[in-house]
Amino acid sequence: MRDLLFHGACSAIILTLTACGGGNSGSTILVGEFASLTGKEATFGISSHEGTQLAIEELNAAGGVLGKKFELKTEDDQSKAGEPANVVNKLISKDGVVAILGEVASSRSLEAAPIAQQNKIPMISPASTNPKVTETGDYIFRVCFIDPFQGTVMANFATKTLKAKKVAVFTDVKSDYSKGLAKFFKEGFTKAGGTIAGELDFNGGDKDFKAQLTAIKSAAPDAVFVPGYYTDVALICIQAKQLGLNVPLFGGDGWESETLLNIGKDAVEGHYFSTHYAADAASPKVTAFVAAYKKRYNGKVPDAMAALGYDSAMFLADGIKRAGSTDGDKIREALAATTDFDAVTGKMRINEHRDAVKSAVILQVKGGAFKYLETVSP
């Protein structure tokens, strides 16, 4: 009986294995996207997916490129390690996509990147800011700036705009993103003549930060740099307020989410963060994008992830158009040769590391919304 079962199982596996997947039909260009539509970082994934989808719809309404329309194939990776590899394998080997768009989180982009690279399929990450992502190989691109730049921008902001002399750094040791930002911030800030008043750690997902915040308070800094993600940051802001730590808190693009405002309420008021774009910036490109997004998604204001998701798809379409082909190699070459692409998140070029070189904006929480403060160029 056991033998029978085993034989059965084995033949079932082999049958499934030999079944072959589809491919690109002649009239459409199939683009794969993987995003965290469910799980811990779902708000990022949903935003970037909505932006990407809007871009594909706009491209198709304008007739597509090379006389073909785009077809977007989206897969959810549940914000879980181990999933991106499966999902990207499926998109490439089973669905036969010409390019991959994704992911927001650097750790998941890092998992998917070697697969895209091995298959010679260009992959464009909308918002993975960790430098290592594009180091994987020459088929991996991104349309956002990287952590060293963001860390330096915040160091300049702290010295010039906040006029801070002593800054405490509160890092999420569970997240490489947070550690990267903290490192580059510290380098930039000490170089500009500032002092680091204290370095404290937390673990993403913690609920109580009072011990560390008390230590920070006793160090009496002028401001606190918190390079974390929105849920943790909201709780940190609330508890800092309760402890009477009344100095500005500031961080990176991980702050940007409606959830920060919903949880933090008045405790996040007046704090700052750097990000990729401002929805209230006075640029015709941004205004048109915000209007289109609001119309498509029932009045929702697009956040940075949505704008980057939109840009990643537009950037790919631009590359395919310039390549004049959907061949992976040709798209790769066209993308790598980008010198001036007008994105919603600002003008950008692609450097030799396949990273986007572009400006960052600083936003402030004011009256329960994110308000544009200033733009910082590279």
Partner: protein, 313 residues
């Protein structure tokens, strides 16, 4: 005796099939191949956990921890020695990496097992859960294995052949261990610890043996996983991963090897088949598991396995 022959035949058939399948690997679609390897790795994890949770009746929630120990050890070993070894010796290096991963995981199993296996039931579950989390947090802070950003560029050495051959060996080892005279002790401990010790069986020793053996194979599975995904990050080894493996064991039927193997395959394939339902995927998945548990609370495949085992005594 009859049962031992059956197990041996099973092992040989399994290895032969793995070798044949491996031969045709280049023709397989990569996605299906990846899923098939996932199946094999999950079989090893589920069958080894079944030795602890099923046969010996100890509720462990730390299997992902052992898997992490094995995976990181094997991956680091491969990364260090990869450049020093000529291509022809790579398979040997892979075996060495996997074995080392398994042994270190077994050592971790011994380390956790000896002090904590005097505990029973819920208390043991909590200790093993804590152990799994400790491993994850330690890895997260170890710069030499990439800390929170993960370990990348691990060579891709895991093939269908390796995975299924090792799965067959795991099944064989666990089945023969449990079916041996010595192995009756596991079941005795599971059935009634007090009665077993009054018969001269040392329950702690049996529990530690089960723990160490289970951890060894979990370590091997971790090594295969590392060389399959080529990227390890600590978040992939949190307690949810342990729960996934426990679900395979419970769904398959505690202590039923065949059932656990089938459950591991089903639970790996199911989420993939459900991809077409997009947003509703995980809801359907959970509903199916609830449905299966209600329909077969004793586990999927209880069949004639127990009867056959009893007849051979």
């Amino acid at each position: 005796m009859k049962s031992a022959d059956g197990a041996k035949r099973w092992l040989l058939v399994g290895i032969a099939l793995a070798v044949v399948a491996s031969y045709f690997t280049p023709q397989f679609n990569r996605y299906y191949l990846g899923i098939a390897i996932d199946c094999g790795i999950n079989i090893i994890l589920a069958v080894s956990l079944n030795l602890i949770n099923g046969h010996t009746g100890q509720f462990s929630l730390g299997h992902a921890g052992f898997m992490a120990v094995g995976g990181y050890t094997a991956a680091k070993f491969s990364l260090v020695f990869e450049a020093m070894v000529p291509d022809s010796l790579k398979p040997l290096l892979f075996v060495a990496a996997l074995t080392l991963g398994g042994l270190i995981a077994a050592l971790a199993g011994l380390g956790v097992g000896v002090p904590s296996l005097r505990l029973k039931g819920d208390y043991l579950a909590i200790v093993t859960l804590g152990f799994g989390e400790i491993i994850r947090v330690v890895v997260q802070n170890m710069e030499s294995v990439g800390a929170a950003s993960g370990l990348k560029n691990i060579p891709k050495w895991t093939t269908l052949g390796w995975t299924f051959a090792l799965a067959a060996i795991t099944i064989y080892a666990v089945a023969s261990l449990v079916n041996s005279t010595y192995g009756r002790g596991f079941i005795a401990v599971s059935d009634d610890e007090v009665a077993a010790s009054s018969m001269g069986i040392n329950p702690v020793r049996y529990k530690v043996t089960a723990f160490v053996t289970g951890a060894f194979f979990a370590g091997i599975a971790g090594g295969l996983y590392a060389h399959h995904k080529q990227f390890l990050s600590p978040t992939g080894f949190d307690f949810l991963k342990s729960i996934d493996i426990v679900v395979m064991v419970i769904l398959g039927g505690m202590g039923r090897t065949a059932g656990v193997v089938i459950a591991a395959i089903i639970l790996t394939l199911l989420p993939e088949f459900l991809r077409q339902f997009a947003d509703y995927r995980m809801i359907i998945y959970s509903l199916l598991i609830i449905g299966l548990m209600m329909a077969r609370p004793q586990g999927l495949f209880t069949l004639s396995f127990k009867k056959k085992g009893a007849a051979s005594v």
